[in-house]
Symmetry: C2
């Protein structure tokens, strides 16, 4: 754990795929979606504490989530909560953090972590990150974490690497990246998995601030110059005002498009660490504990009869009796109730849109 | 409308067949179960106003429901709410009311109405009652209302009458009763309906207080003497104290067993008045308005997808999205949620018992 190591947690997302549990007022990263007693951002923060000191952990989130972040991470120094005035995807978020941290410590290595993923094998995760930090310190490398795919998932991004392109001779797990592919169709995903050359993109990055800033300047000079302009303003009282301008100017773009797909020094570390982006109820279901009828239940007063393979998440104080349900999602949150077949969960987006149209933002 | 006409509304029941909508704290009669804007007891009271003046309407209920009764029937004189200290079925309830009313008006005719039934054809009901009152005034007759059965329902009681035993030559609808049968099996129910000699027992009675008291003295002298004892106490400040003693002494018995099955002067008036005791969710479902997919929905923020033949009752302010449900009951009330197949509704009793065992009375 070096004083040069930093973690940047990206926590600005506002997905409603877990509606009604997640809403734009309280998105997934702020939920204890696994029923472990910790929200996903708390889990992420705790993992970050194994990487660096809490003073070196930064959470970048939307200004709307300042209070939630403060509440859920009471030990994080308040000044380490970086507030984005607008949602502009990952590239501006990472650029902002990189330029800001450079003014604090030009030798910083930053680990970028999404705030809403599940990682079951924390030790493997920590070891992989340490190994990547050490490489990012020594080499001009932008390193991503790739997950060995266990199935042809069409919901993930895939990273193809060049076999026999090890980052150095001692490392047989970190390879040069050849291509990025977002959400392939099933046939392609099957081919990817079979080929052995593809890994899932976990959205976790390790690089020195020097190298990522150089890469931004090289591959997205427009974005780079916007955040370069704040050089003397970061970590002063004028930062928020500057950000308002910077974010209203900059485009909405992911770090993949902005930099990684163009740069020649991108590496991927192949890892098996029980990772999931838990992007759907079904993928969440896989991570939960079942009862003997394969019902995954969160809620202390749920009574089940003749029911199986359901995912149930209701407040503890609520008494719920369910009979005759199979393969359903039953979610109650904050005066909203969703009952929906598991295999119809892709419709939840439509429900949410319909609600927006019919009822406004009140319930979203 | 004579000053001798009285209505006694029996409102002490505490059924939980409509759990979680009905609980022992707020049983069915106090619910707007049809979504009409009126609770069943309010509907009953309004029907009673067509029979007699409000000063002649008495509601007999459990002491626990005093406030509910007062709230829901604000125009009923407070002294007309008769409070039973214990639940002892219909015979003590009727005896109490009869002995008390006799002290007010010895020439009273009382109409006994359950508080939690549905009657769709109010005019026919009013006409039938008026006709029975007039007979009860003139003749030594205990008259019940019988409903022409439309199906072999096994949940109702049946009254067999003697054809060609008209109460008088002008009346071809009121007959002498031969037998009472509680909840027959399906085969028997089919036979009953086919025979044309059987009517459903609606639990509605019309008799003079003189005659019912005479019948009680004759057929259940034990019960009669308990309530006879209060003769000089009814309508005084000591009534509650007397009732405590009377009710703790008297047995739990229905008026059918106590008197009607033994008396020789019991008549039944055959009626078709859109009556139902709405004793089950399914029978309630029949009385509700459907949407085009046969969903009966109470609740202003319910959104249905790929769902049919469901009975849904949720608070207006609750946002509910339901997908992929067929033939289900979905009820939310007071922090309790029931999801249950329509054809499994007889299990609700078991659920409620299980809840009692596991969670105590809190939810019942």
């Amino acid at each position: 754990m070096s004083k040069n190591d930093y973690v940047v947690i990206m926590a600005g997302g506002a997905g409603t795929r877990f509606w009604p549990l997640s809403t734009s007022k309280k998105p997934k990263q702020f939920l204890d979606i696994l029923g472990t007693g910790y929200t996903l951002i708390q889990d992420t923060y705790n993992r970050a504490l194994n990487i660096c000191d809490k003073n070196n952990i930064f959470v970048v989130t939307n200004k709307d989530y300042y209070n939630l972040t403060k509440q859920q991470l009471p030990n994080l120094p308040e000044k380490n909560i970086l507030l984005e005035p607008y949602r502009k995807n990952t590239a501006p978020c990472i650029a902002y953090a990189a330029y800001k941290i450079r003014e604090i410590n030009p030798n910083a290595v930053m680990v970028v972590l999404p705030s809403d993923h599940v990682i079951k094998k924390e030790k493997i995760f920590a070891k992989a990150i340490q190994s990547c930090i050490s490489k990012a310190n020594k080499q001009d490398a932008l390193i991503t974490i790739g997950i060995k795919p266990s199935r042809p998932d069409t919901g993930y991004g895939y990273i193809q690497y060049i076999t026999d392109s090890n980052i150095n001779e001692k490392d047989d797990r970190t390879f040069k990246v050849k291509t990025f592919t977002e959400k392939p169709d099933l046939e392609m995903a099957r081919y990817f998995v079979k080929s052995g050359e593809f890994l899932w993109n976990a959205g976790i990055f390790i690089w020195s601030v020097k190298n990522i800033i150089y890469a931004l300047e090289t591959h997205d000079s427009e974005l780079a110059s916007i955040f370069q302009e704040g050089k003397d303003i970061y970590n002063t009282n004028n930062e928020a005002k500057f950000l308002e301008k910077a974010y209203s100017t900059c485009k909405n773009i992911s770090i993949d498009y902005s930099v990684l797909e163009k740069a020649q020094n991108v590496y991927v570390r192949s890892t098996i660490m029980g990772w999931s982006d838990v992007g759907t109820w079904r993928s969440l279901y896989e991570h939960l504990h079942y009862d003997s009828h394969k019902n995954a239940v969160a809620g202390k007063n749920v009574m089940l009869y003749d029911s199986s393979k359901c995912l149930i998440n209701v407040p503890n104080e609520k008494l719920v009796v369910i009979q005759g349900m199979e393969d359903f999602i039953i979610i109650e949150s904050d005066n909203m109730l969703l009952i929906c077949k598991k295999d119809a969960e892709q419709q939840i987006r439509n429900f949410v849109n319909e609600i927006k149209i019919q009822k406004g933002d009140k319930y979203i």
